[in-house]
């Protein structure tokens, strides 16, 4: 937390206000200590809410303070550390008035732990393959929670929709980053990825925490998929065709994947394990391809570990995906 705040206050950037908003933590001890430690910065404003109402409402409190005062609003997570030039780089693309939001280039804080290294490999491909491809058309579908920037005039327009989002009557809590991005796209703006805007963030280092995170991410992915499709049908002129291509392929892959898994497991158990092996080899092969490209691009040796991620994919992410679909209506974070 301290590192995070320090990194925002020590940016190579002249005009920045930082609001830290405590979303009704049980104890005020940490808040008071932070307030004391950073009191010498005149651009740092700590706010404490006395009721825990969730991340979106906490952000909304800060939006209300900021959106008339600044041109760009940057959202980050409390476990993210920005690079010194993170801000100057993330705002560059806002020179183009058609761009409404930009996501930064986030990597994982690597600990001496295999899981964090594997997640870092996943982050690399999620940003430098998936988001980079979407960015070419201005259609990044998720401005990452750990580091994203939005035009404040758009935030003013969409903030009420953002905090009142509901899915099957339930109030939506997680998936805030994906929904805010969708609201920007729905306003007709482009959303881009900025490779030079670096940040690192803490990622789960135990498998149980990773599973809960993946369940939340999958739920928000499927929920937002339905939301985007609904708005695409209503106002196709607001969306680039690449969004439709991307979402169609991802939906088709999901259904095919379910069929492949069901058939592979069934045939693998009843006929021969070779059927199961076929599927494992295919997933492994795809991971090798991703890892090869990632390594060639970055020369980061850790990314060569990425093929091991395919086993995580089979034994944790697929069950997380299935669990997410079955419990799509449940809104808890699974961490508190």
């Amino acid at each position: 937390m301290w590192e995070c705040i320090k990194s925002t206050l020590e940016q190579n950037y002249p005009d920045v206000l930082v609001i830290m908003i405590d979303d009704g933590s049980r104890s005020a001890e940490v808040f008071d200590q932070i307030k004391k430690d950073f009191e010498h910065y005149d651009n740092f404003f700590p706010i404490r809410k006395y009721r825990n109402e969730g991340k979106r409402k906490a952000q909304k409190t800060a939006f209300d303070v900021l959106d008339e005062r600044v041109e760009i609003i940057v959202t980050i997570d409390s476990d993210t550390v920005l690079s010194k030039d993170g801000l100057i780089n993330i705002v560059q693309k806002f020179k183009n008035p058609n761009i409404g939001a930009i996501t930064g280039n986030v990597r994982a804080i690597k600990e001496e732990n295999l899981l964090t290294k594997l997640i870092d490999g996943r982050y690399f491909s999620a940003f430098n393959q998936e988001r980079a491809a979407q960015s070419l058309f201005g259609t990044v579908l998720c401005c990452s929670g750990p580091f994203a920037a939005y035009r404040s005039c758009i935030i003013r327009e969409v903030k009420e929709c953002y905090i009142t989002q509901r899915f099957l009557v339930q109030e939506c809590t997680y998936g805030d980053d994906r929904h805010l991005t969708n609201l920007v796209l729905n306003e007709g703006y482009q959303v881009k990825y900025e490779i030079k805007a670096h940040a690192v963030t803490r990622v789960p280092h135990i498998y149980k925490e990773f599973f809960s995170q993946q369940v939340r991410w999958n739920k928000s992915f499927y929920r937002e998929l339905l939301w985007t499709l609904k708005f695409y049908i209503r106002a196709p002129q607001n969306f680039h065709p690449y969004i439709l291509y991307d979402l169609t392929i991802q939906t088709m892959l999901l259904f095919l994947l379910m069929l492949v898994i069901s058939f592979s497991f069934f045939r693998g158990i009843t006929v021969s394990p070779i059927y199961l092996l076929q599927y494992i080899v295919m997933v492994f092969g795809i991971s090798v391809l991703r890892a090869s490209y990632s390594f060639l691009r970055s020369r980061d040796n850790n990314l060569l570990l990425f093929p091991i991620y395919s086993f995580l994919h089979i034994f944790m992410l697929i069950p997380a995906r299935i669990y997410a679909i079955l419990t799509l209506k449940k809104a808890g974070w699974g961490t508190r």
């Binding site: 609003i73 980079a132 490209y293």
Partner: protein, 53 residues
């Protein structure tokens, strides 16, 4: 037979999507070499850090 067909289709779709993503992503990556950071472009920025402990 059904399994083989589904696996084949899944493989083709997943690989072609990956190939498209990597290529498009790489085009975007190559664009960065020609971009220079304009340090005089500094719109006012507000950073929000929500916390809960």
């Amino acid at each position: 037979m059904i399994l083989q067909t589904i696996i084949l289709w899944y493989g083709i779709l997943a690989l072609s999507h990956l190939f498209i993503q990597i290529n498009l992503g790489h085009i975007e990556f190559l664009k960065y070499f020609s971009m220079i950071t304009d340090k005089s472009f500094t719109p006012s920025v507000g950073i929000i850090i929500p916390m809960y402990n």
